[in-house]
């Protein structure tokens, strides 16, 4: 069955081609069926592949040689193993639900744009699948670039709005900066090892010097910073909200941002052998987690809050990777995919009901009007906040315990971030669903629950957001119950052999877990009571204002990078281009013109002067003739 894995990316590719090429002639209904159908087909194949792998299958599927130059061979191969098959399920499963949801969410679009939308979505999923399935870094890079491109296309989907185009460009440029790091890492590998296939790289890893490994892993991490929105390259992700809401769900949950996590989890052996980089990953991850969480506290755009929460959760995943809990990170990717897709789609449902209003201070009291959205959203919030027994609790707990194992400070800071998460998620929930309605009368009249194409994905996702945690029950509750760890063990075996895990005392773990849960519940209660009665629109001052303005990071980047760059560009344009380049080009022209004008005067019409010149020329040549044969030789050669 694993041999048929190429079908998984093939279906979305076909969907992309059909929808993209025939978008003007297909009806909207047909476009929706093709787009979602391709995803469903992929999902079915992924399921078969997954169960095949679970029963000990798995293979490297060689399709053709992609690059064959001298001794360097880069095959186009797909690697089917526990890690990739798990990601396949997440991507195609959630991808399918998002496609289904989109058919209803985007129904107002014209057929042509509707087709374009689904073509992009399919291409996005195709690129992500290529990234996941590739058996070497180059194939991964193709997918890596593909998701970057698709995110650009989808963020700027409503290209008539210039702000959206700017957001799209920002995403693309930020990603490019990261991609450069990734590309350099790949080149470094080629130079040092002459191969980029995972199997041969990981087998030959002992041949690399410690410096090489550190540099390669750091460069790869730079790539992950861009793709997975970590400090300092995270600013594109909140702006990516410009795209349609299902696209945000796709970017945040199933595709794109998890690429960095996947890449590091895939290269786990390299990272385990580079402790310095691991510390860097952990520190960056942790600072991103806490930093983004503080920003989310004061955002009023429903999607912005979710966006910063994604950045923050990605930070946790990197913390997990950094402290060597690869399983925990992948586990969190999985649970996060469910609850974040759920939250985004729920937000989409709210926005849909509110006629494209995204400001949560103008919502409130939607609980009774949108019952299904309300319940599912609440479940998502509980999951992301880490309330047991929802899925977020298990995955976050696993990462934080591993962090405590490495350095208790990581744990305390991470725990603080988790409390912030609980606070801003329930602030969002209360402002949206509790209290009184604060929007316009027109909006209130038209409040309606979304159609079933939107609520069914919500319910499915909510189910998984609740129960997905049970695949990773910690050792504390039941020995040997961590199904995910057993499943992924072959992928992380190399790293596990290098690190000797020492488990925490059961009592310490109980205390930490208990305290955390109690604190989270208190914070949730506080947030709900504080914002339930929210009415006024107080202006923020002091630190709150800084948070509302996202620590002024965009302004900072603007001042230290964008402005000087513009200044330089203007200098080049107005001075160098105008005077030096144009001066040279026009100068040559003018010189020829002036020379010609002067030389023209020689032809005066005076026969005498012509004869004089003739005689002088002859005399000149005669003199040369007698004096230097080489010149005459040269002249002979010419004529």
């Amino acid at each position: 069955m694993s041999k048929l894995v190429y079908l998984v990316p093939l279906f979305p590719l076909l969907g992309f081609l059909v929808n993209g090429l025939f978008r003007k002639s297909l009806s909207k209904q047909l476009i929706g069926i093709i787009g979602s159908g391709a995803m469903l087909a992929s999902f079915v194949v992924s399921l078969l592949v997954f169960f095949d792998v679970k029963n000990g299958g798995g293979a490297t599927v060689h399709l053709f040689d992609f690059i064959h130059v001298g001794s360097l061979v880069i095959p186009f191969e797909f690697l089917v193993d526990p890690l990739s098959s798990l990601f396949l399920l997440i991507i195609t499963g959630i991808g399918f639900l998002i496609h289904l949801y989109s058919t209803a969410y985007m129904h107002e679009e014209e057929p042509m744009h509707f087709g374009r939308y689904f073509a992009y979505l399919n291409l996005f999923v195709f690129s992500m699948l290529l990234l996941i399935l590739g058996a070497n870094y180059v194939i991964m890079f193709i997918g890596w670039e593909g998701v970057g491109l698709c995110s650009y296309l989808l963020i700027g989907f409503w290209f008539k709005n210039n702000n959206y185009n700017a957001a799209a460009k920002k995403a693309f440029i930020m990603n490019r900066i990261g991609d450069l790091g990734f590309l350099l890492a790949v080149f470094w590998l080629i130079v040092k090892l002459g191969t980029v296939s995972y199997a041969s790289v990981f087998a030959a890893v002992s041949q690399l010097s410690a410096t090489d490994i550190t540099i390669i892993t750091t460069l790869l991490f730079v790539g992950a910073m861009g793709k997975s929105a970590q400090i300092p390259l995270y600013t594109w992700l909140p702006d990516a909200m410009a795209g349609p809401t299902p696209v945000s769900a796709l970017i945040h949950a199933a595709t794109m941002v998890t690429a960095g996590i996947y890449m590091i989890a895939r290269s786990n052996i390299l990272y385990t052998m580079a402790p310095a980089t691991q510390t860097l990953v952990a520190v960056i991850g942790l600072s991103t987690a806490i930093f983004a969480a503080t920003i989310a506290l004061k955002q009023n755009d429903i999607k912005k809050v979710l966006a910063y929460s994604t950045v923050s959760q990605l930070g946790y995943m990197f913390l997990g990777l950094g402290v060597g809990s690869y399983t925990g990170a992948v586990f969190h990717v999985m649970t996060h995919a469910f609850f974040k897709a759920l939250l985004f789609l729920g937000a989409g449902s709210v926005i849909h009901a509110m006629h494209h209003e995204q400001d949560i201070t103008k919502m409130g009291g939607l609980k009774s009007k949108l019952p299904i959205t309300h319940i599912t959203f609440l479940l998502g919030c509980l999951a992301i906040a880490g309330v047991p027994p929802f899925s977020g609790f298990f995955s976050k707990d696993e990462i934080l315990m591993a962090a405590y194992n490495t350095n208790p400070i990581f744990y305390y800071v991470g725990m603080g971030g988790a409390l912030l998460t609980a606070f801003y998620m329930f602030r969002l929930y209360s402002l949206t669903f509790l209290g009184n309605f604060r929007g316009t009368a027109h909006q209130q009249e038209h409040l309606h629950e979304s159609p079933s194409a939107m609520t069914i994905p919500l319910m499915v996702l909510a189910f998984f957001a609740v129960v997905a945690g049970f695949v990773g029950i910690p050792e504390l509750f039941a020995p040997d119950a961590h199904a995910l760890e057993h499943f992924l063990a072959p992928v992380f075996a190399g790293s596990a052999a290098l690190t000797h895990a020492h488990h925490l005392e059961a009592s310490t773990e109980w205390i930490l877990m208990g305290t955390a849960t109690v604190l989270i519940l208190i914070v949730i209660l506080y947030a709900v009571t504080k914002f339930k009665k929210y009415t006024s629109t107080e202006t923020n001052t002091g630190i709150a204002k800084v948070l509302e303005n996202k620590w002024y990071i965009d302004e900072l980047y603007d001042t230290i990078i964008v402005k000087p760059l513009f200044w330089k560009a203007n200098f080049l344009k107005n001075t160098i281009e105008k005077y030096v380049i144009d001066g040279a080009v026009n100068g040559v022209g003018k010189l020829v013109g002036y020379g010609s004008r002067q030389f023209r005067l020689v032809q005066s019409g005076q026969v005498g002067s012509y004869i004089l010149m003739m005689v002088m020329a002859v005399a000149f040549f005669i003199i040369i003739w007698f004096n230097d044969n080489t010149i005459m030789h040269f002249i002979h050669k010419i004529f």
């Binding site: 019409g605 026969v607 005498g608 004869i611 004089l612």
Partner: protein, 111 residues
């Protein structure tokens, strides 16, 4: 007589001709100077021909080598005579039209 004498003479005649053409404006004098150059060349041709023939005769009493050049000279003289008649006719016509034989008047043809 050594060949050099002829060469110097011809050079002198030719130079006089050139200088005359360059400096004089009277069409008839210019014309005469052109003839002078032509004849300088003729003279040189005859001189070389004679030298050539004399050297050939030293080896073979009946040699005719180099003698053709003297025939060329006659041709040149005939052609030159024809040319002179045409040239003089032009000068006469010019004088009739503009009452002058100044060659600088000729540049009005350029417009």
């Amino acid at each position: 007589m050594p060949i050099q004498y002829y060469i110097y003479l011809c050079l002198a005649l030719f130079s006089i001709g050139i200088i005359g053409v360059l400096t004089r404006r009277n069409a008839i004098i210019v014309f005469m100077c052109i003839e002078l150059m032509l004849n300088a060349v003729n003279l040189l041709l005859v001189a070389f021909s004679k030298v050539h023939n004399t050297m050939a005769l030293a080896g073979d009493k009946t040699s005719m080598a180099g003698i053709e050049a003297q025939l060329f000279v006659f041709f040149i003289m005939v052609v030159a005579a024809a040319e002179v008649s045409v040239g003089l006719a032009i000068i006469v016509m010019m004088y009739r039209n503009v009452h002058s034989v100044d060659i600088n008047f000729l540049n009005r043809l350029k417009n």
